[in-house]
């Protein structure tokens, strides 16, 4: 079985079998990553755009690096561009929801809501580190930040999530 890196190198030649295999290997991970980063909106567009960039920029891919790192770098950049776009309609979940709103919705907190309430930078780290099961080094490389920043963002994310799931502490603080 060919490695991801070998398959990615074949994309330069327009090899459709290589693309099909890479799609098969990464479809679940990439789709779920995009879903978590965007709260499920525009996943189809972002998924297609990610692979389009992979093919268009295949000749820039450095085969000495892991393909997964390159793929998620592209996906992260696309998500950041997407987040900068003005939302098409008023968002149900603001980045900084009012305290009253938090109190109201505590009972219905689920994973998607928790993630939606994290700042983008912290959410990126949580999704890559925990859901994608990547090491801190890989996350640092994908996000192009030092490993220490990965750790600190993770800590901030956990503290913030803890506040959300423990309303009494939030009120007390």
């Amino acid at each position: 079985m060919q490695t991801d890196e070998a398959l990615a190198a074949r994309l330069v030649d327009g090899d459709d079998l290589a693309l099909r295999e890479l799609l098969r290997r990464y479809e679940q991970r990439l789709a779920r990553f995009l879903h978590r980063q965007t709260g499920g909106r525009d996943v189809e567009d972002l998924y297609q755009e990610t692979w389009l960039r992979v093919v268009r920029h295949a000749d820039r891919y450095d085969a000495t690096r892991r393909f997964s790192t390159w793929l998620f770098q592209i996906a992260v950049n696309l998500c950041r561009d997407w987040q900068r776009r003005p939302p098409p309609e008023p968002r149900a979940l603001e980045d900084e929801p009012a305290a009253a709103e938090l109190e109201r919705s505590d009972a219905a907190l689920d994973a998607a809501q928790l993630l939606a309430r994290l700042p983008d930078a912290q959410r990126e780290v949580v999704v890559l580190r925990y859901y994608q099961d990547l090491s801190e080094d890989e996350v640092a490389e994908i996000l192009d930040i030092p490993k220490g920043t990965v750790k600190s963002r993770m800590h901030q994310a956990i503290a913030r999530l803890a506040q959300l799931v423990q309303p009494e502490k939030r009120v007390a603080s």
Binding site: G14, R24, E27, L114
Partner: protein, 147 residues
């Protein structure tokens, strides 16, 4: 998924003194984040993505074909003047040799026929180059490690 989440959170909690001191609800967070059960039809996404990416892929394959064709044609055209020169010299020698034995018109006819067949052969050889390049290359499957 949940076990990975647990391990990752535990890993952070072990390393982070502050989280230990404040007794961050690591288990509760793990349970909540691990309960993410979003249903995603990733196969459908891949089909749509492939359909959208296919033209870019064909563009790449086409560009590669023309690059290869140009390289091969250049390589094949380099010796062509020599081949034609040798053929012309050989036809002239053949005409002289045949004309010494047969009438000139018959010798000219025979040499012209031979020249035409040579021309056809050379043209066919050069015409085959793009056809051979366009043929899909099937790479052999690597043998299993135990074989």
């Amino acid at each position: 998924m949940t076990s990975r989440l647990d391990n990752a959170f535990d890993e952070h909690a072990r390393e982070c003194g502050e989280c230990r001191e404040t007794a961050a609800p690591v288990a509760a967070l793990s349970a909540l984040l691990g309960s993410d059960t979003a249903q995603i039809d990733a196969e459908r996404l891949s089909r749509l993505a492939f359909a959208r990416v296919a033209p870019a892929l064909q563009e790449r394959a086409g560009a590669l074909f023309w690059r290869r064709l140009t390289r091969v044609l250049i390589a094949a055209l380099v010796p062509l003047p020599l081949v034609i020169g040798v053929d012309v010299w050989m036809l002239g020698w053949l005409y002289e040799a045949v004309a010494a034995w047969l009438p000139v018109s018959v010798a000219a006819y025979l040499v012209a026929c031979y020249g035409a067949s040579l021309l056809l052969l050379i043209s066919g050889t050069y015409a085959a180059i793009p056809l051979l390049l366009a043929r899909p290359v099937i790479e052999p499957e690597p043998e299993p490690a135990g074989a």
